[in-house]
């Protein structure tokens, strides 16, 4: 069987392991994408969120076979973008990052939300981030930060 090809953060890569392997584990162990966090391995916390072809997924609930020829973006890739810079500033201004464990996933969820809806209202932001648990912030600062980023980054999304 041929190696499994996919694009990771803009680079073509070939994975030689099993199609059953969990994307979360592969990203962390084989490709050193340590920003992808394991919070539960059950699709219930969003800490392992990644973008596949621009769409948000929990990487713990994706087997490698499902990503053949697709494009995966983790925080390692997203942090190099202009959109990240806007979100970064907005999160910094709200001090929306506490322990940080949920943040890479949360920010990718924000990116997915803003890509689909560049001008969300508060309710839509809360919906867009609803699969990403955060135990530190109570969410208010994060929700405000995403709203501010949408305003600041007008035109980027």
């Amino acid at each position: 069987m041929d190696a499994l090809n996919f694009v990771l953060n803009g680079q073509k890569v070939s994975y030689e392991g099993s199609a059953n392997d969990r994307l979360l584990d592969v990203l962390r162990d084989e490709y050193d994408c340590k920003s992808v966090k394991c919070g539960c391995k059950e699709g219930e916390c969003g800490a392992c969120s990644v973008l596949i072809d621009g769409v948000l997924y929990n990487s713990c609930c994706v087997a490698m076979g499902a990503i053949a020829d697709r494009s995966v973006v983790t925080m390692e890739g997203f942090r190099e973008t202009e959109r990240f810079a806007v979100l970064d500033k907005a999160f910094a201004e709200m001090s929306a990052v506490q322990c940080g464990f949920c943040i890479p996933g949360m920010v990718l969820a924000a990116e997915a939300l803003l890509s689909a809806n560049p001008h969300p209202d508060e309710e839509q932001i809360r919906e867009g981030l609803s699969g990403n648990l955060c135990r530190c912030t109570g969410y208010n600062a994060i929700v405000k930060a995403v709203g501010n980023a949408a305003k600041e980054g007008n035109g980027l999304w």
Binding site: M1, L4, G17, S18, A19, N20, R22, K41, E42, G43, E44, G46, S49, V55, L56, Y57, N58, C60, C61, V62, A63, G65, A66, A68, A109, A112, L113, E127, G128, S130, G131, N132, L133
Partner: protein
């Protein structure tokens, strides 16, 4: 290690017939189960399974359609949209599919409840033949499906008629990322002042979604006044008939919610 990632249904069915494989649609249930030693048949590239269409009678939802995709489609009935909009959270709705929701065999599956209440049919395909089965016949018992080892669920056929008059409620443990603890869907159509059709389905309370067509008959052909008089007896009939499985949340609680919602459905719709 072999890898099955077919791009056509024909190819998928051939592999399904020849190999011992587990169909993998969205992965959201399978990856949590994390079964050892299985071979997945990845269906996410089979575009034939990802279509939403309609004919004179049915809205046809491909088994590989994701919940997110359905929410964007003008063809998918509002009742179904409302139910899938309450599933988990965006990332799960992006991955989860109608076929997967059925194939997992859980009575908590939110789209399956709607398929029960709308008398949906499933188109089941294999390399050798194709057949159509009613959704309630497809579920033979707890996690037991009428699906042969060479078959795949291809399409869900939802009858279009009368879906606007619906009632839906999902009770989860919280407002997002919640598995149903009780879910209820009802449809009630009237014609010439009489009840033409009534359907009531209960999710997450037993081994399969529950629907009792025999009890429903009590109200068919009745006027609002007649139905109003029969209402308490009707609800009592459900209370006597429904047998709930035990769970983290007590059966007594779930049963009383079922009865309360059934009553509210009747109060609003009759």
């Amino acid at each position: 290690m072999v890898r099955y990632t077919p791009v056509t249904l024909e190819e998928a069915l051939r592999i399904r017939a020849e190999q011992d494989v587990v169909p993998y649609a969205g992965g959201t249930d399978l990856m949590v189960e994390n079964r050892k030693g299985v071979t997945y048949l990845f269906l996410n590239r089979v575009s034939e399974l990802q279509q939403i269409s309609e004919d004179d009678t049915y809205v046809r939802i491909g088994s590989g359609v994701t919940f997110t995709q359905a929410l964007k489609s003008p063809l998918v009935p509002d009742l179904m949209k409302e139910a899938v909009s309450h599933i988990a959270a965006p990332a799960i709705r992006n991955a989860g599919t109608f076929g997967g929701n059925l194939g997992n065999g859980s009575a908590k599956a939110d789209s399956v409840l709607i398929e029960y209440v709308t008398d949906a049919k499933l188109r089941i395909a294999s390399a050798a033949k194709e057949r159509t089965v009613d959704v309630d016949a497809f579920y033979k018992g707890r996690k037991q499906l009428d699906l042969e080892s060479d078959e795949l669920i291809a399409e869900i056929l939802i009858p279009k008629e009368g879906l606007d008059d619906y009632y839906y409620q999902k009770i989860g443990g919280r407002n997002a990322l919640a598995i149903s603890r009780v879910s209820f869907a009802g449809i009630l159509n009237k014609e010439d002042g009489k009840i033409k059709r009534i359907a009531a389905a209960f999710g997450a309370v037993a081994d399969t979604v529950l629907r009792y067509k025999e009890i429903e008959k009590m109200l068919i052909g009745k006027t609002a006044a007649e139905a109003g008089e029969l209402k308490e007896a009707f609800i009592q009939k459900y209370a006597d008939t429904m047998v709930l499985t035990r769970g983290r949340v007590s059966a007594e609680y779930r049963k009383s919610v079922c009865c309360n919602l059934l009553r509210d459905f009747l109060d609003q719709m009759i």
